[in-house]
Every structure is written in C-alpha cells, then in structure tokens.
Symmetry: C2
Subunit: 360 residues, 2 copies
C-alpha cells in the first residue's frame, strides 16, 4: 500500500429508483439490495481497504447520513467522514474532497468511486486501478474506467475512445455521450470503441484541481479561497459558506467533457451500477422459473421472471405473476411490471404529493 493513495467514496445519493426499499432517510448505498449479508457501501469500503491505507479512505456523504456511515463502517476514522451541507451533484463534491486531500498531501493520488455500485471481480478491479494510478502519476492525466458494454443499454452514459491506445490498453477519450436511444446504443456497441461510463475516476489531486481552475474557475475560486481551512476546526464553517455558492453540476459535464487530457481504461470486473430493480434482477441468481428472490421466506407458486425483495422474516406467497417487481418493506409494498420501473420515480412523486414525506 502506498501512503499517497486515497479513495473518496461518494455516498450522498438517495436511490429513489430503488424505492420503497431505498428511502430518503436510509438510501440504497446503505442497503443490502442483493441479500448478500453486507450493504453496498460495506462492500465498496472493503474493496478499497485491500489496497488503500485505512486512514486514506474517505466517505463523502450528506450530513444526515454521517451516523449511518459511522455505524456501517466502524473501522473508518470519524474524521474521514466528509459531510456535504447540501446535494450539489458530483462536481462540488469532488472539488471539496480534492482540495481537502491535497491540503493534507500534495502528492496525493485519488480514486473517486460511487458507494452503491456492484463489482464482482475485486482482483481485476484492483489491477485496473493500479494501472490507472501508475499512469496518472507519470502523466498530467484524468483517467476514467470504461466498462466493456455487453448490450445496448439506453440508461448509461457512453465514452468513445481513440482507436490506438496510448500504452497498454489505455486510450485517450474522444467523446462522452449521455443516455443514447436504442438505435444509437446498438451502433455504439457494434463500433467497438464505446464503453459504459462507470463514474469511477483516478487522478492526482493537483491534476483535477488544475482542471477545476481551468474549466470551472468560479467553483475553483470559492474552494481555493478557503484552502487554509481544510482539515482544521474551521473547515465545516467554510464549507457551509462555500456550498450555497456552487452550481449543482456533474463532474462529467463540468470537467470531463471539457478537458483534453482524459483517458479511459476499457475494463471488465463484473460491474453493475445497480441503478434499477431490473439491474438488481440481472445480478441475482434466478430460480428455474426465472425469478430473482432477495428474501428468506418467499414461496413462489407459479410466478415467472419476477424481481422479488422482501424483509427477512416476512412470508410471501406469490402466484400468477409474470415479469413483475414485488418489493415489500415494513410500511410500503410496491408491485409493478418490470418494464414500468422507470415510472417508480413518478410513483414516489405522487406519494409525496398525496401523502407527504412519511413513506419516502
């Protein structure tokens, strides 16, 4: 392990597409969506703890989730839980943690990773990160990990790279494309030079901050002005002042699409963003009728192709359901067709309108 290597696990999302299992007060990253025995953030933490020094692992989250992080990751030093005063998408969050880490260690190399993704092949993931770290330590480069696509997913962003690699399977990025339509996604898949954007980044802290200075000078300025405050008793007060001044914008839009020194490593480490119940379904074992069951006492009589999630002690008896999502929790039961899962966000909005926040 190298004492200059850091990771920032981003854990501020609210996971509304996994409602009702995921709640505003206890969202997806803190849940064991796939019934594995550990929450997603616990798996993410352990993955990095294999090759990043414990004191260099940071979790960036909302203030309201800091106590959950502490509870779920008891090995994480309290000071490494970084609270954002409000949700501002990924760019301000990354600016904050990068300034903070840089103030601590001018030679820091950072991995930025979401807390709530699934990665099955930890060894391949670690090897890919090592390659990226090595590259960014030798070059003025921002590296993103691109997943080799297996089907024309229309919900992901795509990264197109140059035909020839810089070195050993590391390519310069040509374009970023947000969620394409199906036809375009099929073309991307056939072309061979498009990858899924996994939202996992590797760079030196000073490299990304230079790029903030260049492409987001206003955001750079507000964070730079307070640079003496990071890792001191005055940090919280400074951040509370800075955050309201920041635009809510993604790191892709703010930096990655604008910078000319962006590289991608085509990767295969059993990745899923676990973005929806359908992707949870894809990642769970199925019974012989094609049902994916996350629950201990689910009795399927003759349902097929269903995604079923239930509390441990709840008995579910299901008959006649084909291609449904059934998510039962203590206070909410959701049943909907798998192909309507993009409507779940609308259901949540309607619940909010009709009943209020109680069930969100």
């Amino acid at each position: 392990m190298n004492k200059n290597h850091y990771v920032a696990i981003m854990a501020g999302g609210i996971g509304s597409r996994f409602w009702p299992k995921s709640r505003v007060g206890y969202p997806k990253q803190f849940l064991d969506i796939l019934n594995t025995g550990k929450s997603l953030i616990q798996w993410t933490y352990e993955r990095f703890a294999n090759f990043i020094p414990a004191e260099n692992i940071f979790v960036v989250t909302s203030e309201e989730y800091t106590s959950i992080v502490q509870e779920q990751l008891p090995a994480l030093p309290t000071d490494n839980i970084v609270a954002e005063p409000s949700r501002k998408n990924t760019a301000p969050c990354i600016a904050y943690i990068s300034f903070k880490v840089l103030a601590k260690d001018p030679d820091a190399t950072m991995i930025i990773a979401p807390a709530d993704h699934l990665i099955l092949d930890n060894a391949a993931f670690e090897a890919t990160c090592a390659k990226a770290i090595d590259f960014v330590e030798r070059n003025d480069a921002l590296v993103t990990l691109g997943i080799k696509p297996t089907y024309p997913n229309t919900g992901y962003g795509y990264i197109q790279h140059e035909a020839n690699s810089e070195e050993d399977h590391l390519f310069k990025v040509r374009t970023f494309t947000e969620k394409p339509n199906l036809e375009l996604a099929k073309t991307f898949l056939l072309s061979g030079d498009f990858l899924w954007n996994a939202g996992i980044f590797i760079w030196k802290a000073d490299t990304i901050i230079n790029r903030f200075e260049k492409h987001q000078p206003e955001m750079f300025e507000v964070f730079a002005t307070e640079k003496d405050k990071y890792n001191t008793g005055e940090e919280k007060e400074a951040i509370d002042r800075i955050y309201p001044l920041c635009t809510s914008v993604s790191i892709d839009y703010a930096i990655m699409e604008k910078a000319e020194n962006v590289y991608v490593i085509p990767s295969s480490f059993g990745w899923s963003d676990l973005g929806t119940w359908a992707s949870a379904y894809d990642n769970l074992e199925k019974d012989y009728l094609g049902n994916a069951v996350a629950g201990d006492k689910v009795m399927v009589v003759d349902a097929t192709q269903c995604m079923i999630s239930a509390p441990h002690d709840k008995l579910l008896v299901l008959q006649g359901l084909d291609d449904f999502i059934v998510v039962d929790t203590t206070d909410v039961l959701l049943i909907c067709k798998k192909d309507k899962e993009q409507e779940i966000k609308e259901y949540v909005a309607e619940v909010k309108r009709n009943i209020g926040d109680k069930y969100l």
Copy 2:
C-alpha cells in the same frame, strides 16, 4: 323480546380461506374483513341483540378463542361463552348447546347461526327469524333459512323444497345437495325450487334433541348421560369427557338430511357467507377500474378487478395487476389470481409443511 328465545352463535372456525388475514390464532369471525369498523362477530351479535334477550345470546367457540370473544363482545355474560374442547364440526357443537339451553329452559326456542356471515338487511333477517320461530313453536319442525340464489355458485350447498308451501312461504324440504358442478348449479337456478343453504337453523331445543335421539342415538346418549351437569360447575369436566367420544360430523349430514320434519324459508336479506376473498370482493365497493380495496393507503396506478386488503398504515402502490387477490399483513403477503383462490388452502398446507405453524 321473548325470554324463551335463544341464539347460539357458532364461532369456532379457523377461516383458512381468508389466510393470511385470517389466522388460526385470530380467525375470520374476529376480523373486520370488509373494513366496516367492526368484526364479523360483532355485527352478528348486534343483529341478534335487537330481538333476543342479552342473557339468552350464547357464543360457542374453541377454548383458545374465549378471551377474544370476551374482548370483542364485552356485553356478553362470561357464562354465555361456551368453549368446545376440540373441533368436531357442527353436530356435536349443536348437541352440546341444545342440551345446555334445554337444561336451563325446557321451553327454549333456538336460532343457530354462524358468527362469520354477512347480512345486510337486518330488518328482513329479523322478520324471517320471527316467522321461523313462530312456526317451530307451533309445529314439530326444524327450520333452515334458504337464500334465493342469484347465480350458479358451485361452492354452496343447495336445498330443494316442495312446490307448494305449508303456509306463508314456508316449504317442506325435499333434498340437500352439497356443492354441485356448474351445469347442475345452473339447472338448480333455473328450476326455481333450489335455495342456498345458509347454515342458519331455527328449532325448539327439545325438537332438535329428539332428532339427535332418533338419528344420532350414540351422540344423543353421551350428551344425555351428563344432562344434570349442564350449567353447573361440573359442565366443563363432563364436556371434556364427552367430546372425544363424538364423531366429527356436520349437522346437515347428521340430522337435516335424515329428518323428515325439515322446512325452509326462502329468504332475501343481503346474505353472503363471506367464504372466500372473491365473495369479499363481491361485497365491497369497487373503484372505477373494478378494484375492491380494504385498506386506507392503497394507491392503484393501473390495476383492475383486484381484491386488495392491507393494514391501515401500510402504503401499497400497485401497477399492472389484473384480477388478482393481494392480501398484505404484518408478516405475510399473499398475491394470487382471483380464479386460483381455491388453492389458498393448499398454500397454507404447504407453508405448514415447509415452515411450520408460525405464519398460520
């Protein structure tokens, strides 16, 4: 009110076709299946309290349910809760309560009625009972109430009566037929002389006991031997001795089908046996998509023709379900097609085999 008039409300069933809302430990008769604000036995009690003296209302139930009866019917004298030591179908139960009531009042006239049926027109019901009481007090007769059938139900028993009435719409019974097939049920409906067997009986206590003596001499004998014990401190001990000696048999099979003095009153008082979720569905108001909802926080997105039952505080969001039964409880969720509801008993049996009694 006449001090010689009695009612025995039979409340020993386990209501397994209403599982999982109905449980062995707290079955259907004690539940508010239709979300009316009162349980079925509370409605039944109140219906009789209108025209039967309070001290003459008896509830016959299993020992395990006596405390529930006491809790739900606080006006009922404790001595009027009659506990059966084991489940033996209706004949032993009726023999017991008839001997007990006769020992108290040699002139007693009794109504025998299930605790868990739905009756909407209480005035018509009371008038029908009055007519039956009047008839059995003047004749050596057993009267049963027959419901004018409205469709060819294959789950009910049917009563065929003679063409000509004895007096004012009171007919002699020709045959009893258990659950016919659909073709036969259609023929019954067309014939005009078949009625649904509601399991509500009216007779003088001494008349039914004479019939036990004639048609079930062994059962008569064991109850008659202990006749000095009823309504004394020795009753319980006697009954504990008698019950194991009794065959488990229905009153229909034991007496009604054999006796020649059985009469029926064709009746219409908004009756349903509420035997299944489908009959609960029939008796509930529907939304404009044909869904019957017993629950306060059920959000139907585009389900149709469903029977939905949920705890008061549970939010249900339902999309894409057509013609389903959805019954959610604290610890069990059942989803099945309406036309598979006869399988619910099998599901219960399978749960018992696989998991044990916990969820029954």
